[in-house]
């Protein structure tokens, strides 16, 4: 029983009667403040029960399904690290052959998407499978203990890109995955951030309406890997968007059709400073200053390239998109 707030409803019943679809339940073993756990919950919530999920190897798979338990309430299959898109393709082909309408989702991390599973993903997109592929981008191999991936931002510290006398963290740029995905000329490709749940929800629904392959890359902080307190996951994700380092965009058939404008771009240091993985950039070291300038230039480049600077306040810009009101958001 919940003895709080005077309710006498057994909390188990309360949980069952939440006015939203519970795709990913409690009791999973994610770290405190895990951005990926939240993002996956939001995606499955928005996608609804009539889905089938193929999940790549990674934290999400490990923390949700420690046999004999599962946190999922959607049919879900984990096969391997690099084949989520292919497994999803097979599921989609099977459902199509059986005349079933369930939508197929594929989940992967940035390692499983940008790197090892990239070929399978490209194949899935090219073949036009009616699958929504969602990448939970936490910018490194977190499940194996924070190694750099092709999604790791320039200059970030990971266990395989440590800063030292000779190097200032990762030496390569974050792979521009969304442009590569969009180059497949698929109907819908988007980026999103866990800091903007309503945007995620909207994009998931939009992607599911489309007949054909869709892709969403969701920026999902990893408190452990990024080195910030779990309570700051949303804050950090929001700052990534607001400084321009993580542009939130939509591309349809390769063409830019939507952006989340920045009402007032923040300096990248606001985003970098709370994260331990960038701590070496705040030392008194000319190389550190250079890297900070470099990252600022990358953010400016994104803002310029995608035209992110908002001309006037917009309810869907970076400051308006997370506005709340009494009564919250009506969940369908």
């Amino acid at each position: 029983m919940s003895d709080l707030a005077g309710t006498l409803i057994p909390i188990v019943d309360l949980r069952r009667n939440q006015p939203r679809f519970r795709g990913l339940e409690a009791g999973h073993l994610a770290c405190l403040g895990c951005g990926q756990a939240l993002a996956a919950r939001l995606v499955t919530e928005a996608a609804g029960p009539d889905v089938v999920v193929a999940n790549a190897t990674g934290c999400l798979e490990v923390f949700t399904t420690a046999w004999p338990q599962s946190a999922w309430r959607v049919p879900w299959l984990h096969s391997l690290f690099e084949n989520a898109a292919a497994v999803a393709s097979g599921m989609e082909a099977a459902l199509k052959a059986q005349g079933k309408s369930a939508k197929v989702l594929a989940f992967g991390g940035d390692g499983g998407t940008f790197d090892i599973g990239f070929q399978a993903l490209s194949g899935m997109l090219e073949r036009g499978h009616n699958v929504l592929y969602v990448c939970f981008d936490n910018e490194a191999y977190m499940n194996t203990g924070v190694q750099r991936s092709s999604s790791t931002p320039h200059a970030a510290m990971t266990t395989t890109s440590p800063p030292g006398k000779a190097r200032m963290g990762k030496r390569h740029l974050k792979k521009d995955i969304i442009s590569i995905i969009a180059a497949h000329n698929i109907p819908y490709a988007a980026t999103a951030s866990v800091a903007y749940p309503s945007d995620i929800r909207k994009k998931v629904r939009r992607a599911l309406e489309i007949d054909g392959p869709a892709f969403i890359n969701i920026h999902s902080p990893c408190p452990l890997g990024w080195g910030h307190d779990g309570s700051l996951s949303i804050e950090v994700a929001r700052l990534a968007v607001e400084c321009g380092l993580f542009p939130v965009v939509e591309l349809e058939r390769g063409a830019l059709t939507g952006t989340m404008p920045l009402r007032a771009p923040r300096p990248v240091t606001d985003y970098l400073k709370p994260q331990q993985r960038f701590a070496h950039l705040f030392q008194n070291d000319p190389r550190a200053r250079e890297e900070l300038e470099h990252l600022q230039a990358l953010a400016d480049y994104n803002i310029e390239t995608y035209g992110l600077r908002g001309e006037r306040p917009d309810p869907l810009d970076s400051a308006g998109a997370d506005t709340v009101r009494r009564g919250g958001v009506r969940w369908a």
């Binding site: 009539d50 046999w67 299959l77 984990h78 096969s79 292919a86 097979g90 082909a93 369930a102």
Partner: protein, 390 residues
């Protein structure tokens, strides 16, 4: 009614008769003709099926896995490098206990590059947890393909039907394609108990702790051992329907009083049958066709080898640094017999090297040796090698 068909086309027709809902494949010689045949059947509207032409064998196996998980009957085929590229998925399919059927058009493995036949590819994945059935001729390939679906779906294990590349796949033979109603009577529609279904959303592919992993492996091993009965039953039931049997776990051909046997896998069996007729003077010899390599039919083999003095194992693969693969297992199985026959082990026909009829006397010569031939590769012409590599 007998028809003259290329092996690949016959296999394609057999697959089509099993009504697969999803076919996923990637081109590789010598498997390609099978999938091309299926593609043509689909294009002609003779087969209602999703053909997923993937970007790699890795994805072919993965698509197949996903499609079965979603409840469809699935087919894929590959060979050689393709099998090796798939290997991670092959283990995964088996561990998930996902039933599907694939054809391995057996081919040598690179390097050096060879597109021709041996059985190194399927032997390389013998421990993946699949059932492996080896076909001696194209009629067997047809019949075994149909049987494989019943075996897979009843045991919830994947089945690899091994067919020698070129030797069978590209060879025209007169054979019988069963009518659809016969196949339908034999093979009920597929219903996968753990199919992913929003109304009963189970999670598959979980993380299993050391407390249970051992049990999982034990269960898998037992499932394969128990599959022997299904393999035998499928073959005998099929024989009742069609009048054709493929030997169940293994097939023995030869006089009861023979004291010598030659055991082999795949199409070499036919060569040996012809050779025995060619060399009647060499006395009574039993020929054993090992149809099921996984599960390995220890009891059945022991039974047919009682009273033999020599068993010669001829195989088309090897484990470098060790020797024969099938030979080692046969030797181990027969060692349990009270009067164990001597086991001689040879590899031949590697990378498409011809297996001529005169291999027969050369094999039988082993029976004259003082001690059993542990392992030798036949036909090695050492002068083709630099001295230091001989």
């Amino acid at each position: 009614m007998l028809q003259a068909l290329e092996g690949s086309q016959a296999i394609a027709q057999a697959v089509a008769l099993c009504r697969p809902q999803v076919v996923a494949a990637y081109p590789i010689t010598p498997q390609t003709h099978i999938v091309e045949g299926l593609a043509r059947l689909i294009a002609d509207g003779k087969l209602q099926c999703e053909l997923v032409s993937v970007e790699s064998e890795f994805s072919a196996a993965s698509v197949a896995l996903g499609a079965v998980a979603a409840g469809s009957r699935v087919y894929t085929a590959s060979a050689s490098q393709g099998i090796l590229l798939m290997s991670e998925v092959l283990y995964n399919i088996a561990g998930l206990r996902v039933p599907l059927v694939m054809t391995c058009a057996n081919r040598a493995v690179s390097a050096p590059l060879s597109i021709w036949n041996d059985q190194q590819d399927s032997m390389a994945v013998r421990d993946a947890g699949w059932i492996q059935l080896y076909c001696a001729d194209n009629q067997e390939a047809v019949d075994t393909t149909v049987q494989a679906y019943r075996i897979a779906e009843r045991t919830e294990l994947p089945v690899m039907v091994c067919v020698d590349g070129f030797t069978l796949t590209h060879t025209l033979e007169p054979l019988e394609i069963p009518p659809q109603d016969q196949v339908d009577a034999f093979l009920p529609p597929f219903r996968f108990a753990r199919a992913l279904d929003p109304s009963y959303p189970v999670s598959s592919g979980t993380l299993v702790s050391p407390e249970y992993y051992t049990e999982a492996r034990h269960a898998h091993h037992q499932a394969l051992l128990r599959a022997k009965d299904e393999i035998v039953a499928a073959d005998s039931d099929w024989a009742v329907l069609t009048g054709r049997a493929s030997g169940g776990l293994l097939q023995v051909d030869g006089p009861d009083d023979a004291r010598v046997a030659i055991l082999t896998l795949g199409s070499v069996f036919g060569t040996l049958l012809d050779a025995r007729e060619e060399y009647p003077q060499l006395g009574p010899v039993k020929l054993i066709k090992l149809r099921a390599f996984r599960p390995f039919p220890v009891e059945a083999l022991q039974q047919v080898c009682v009273g033999l003095s020599d068993v010669i194992v001829l195989e088309r693969a090897l484990s470098p640094g060790s020797g024969g693969i099938a030979g080692a297992e046969v030797r181990a199985a027969l060692a349990e017999l009270p009067a164990a026959p001597r086991v001689h082990n040879f590899a031949a026909g590697l990378g498409g090297r011809d297996v001529p009829l005169d291999i027969y006397p050369r094999l039988l010569a082993a029976t004259q040796s003082a001690s059993p031939v542990r392992f030798a590769i036949l036909d090695v012409e050492l002068d083709k090698l630099p001295v230091e590599d001989r």
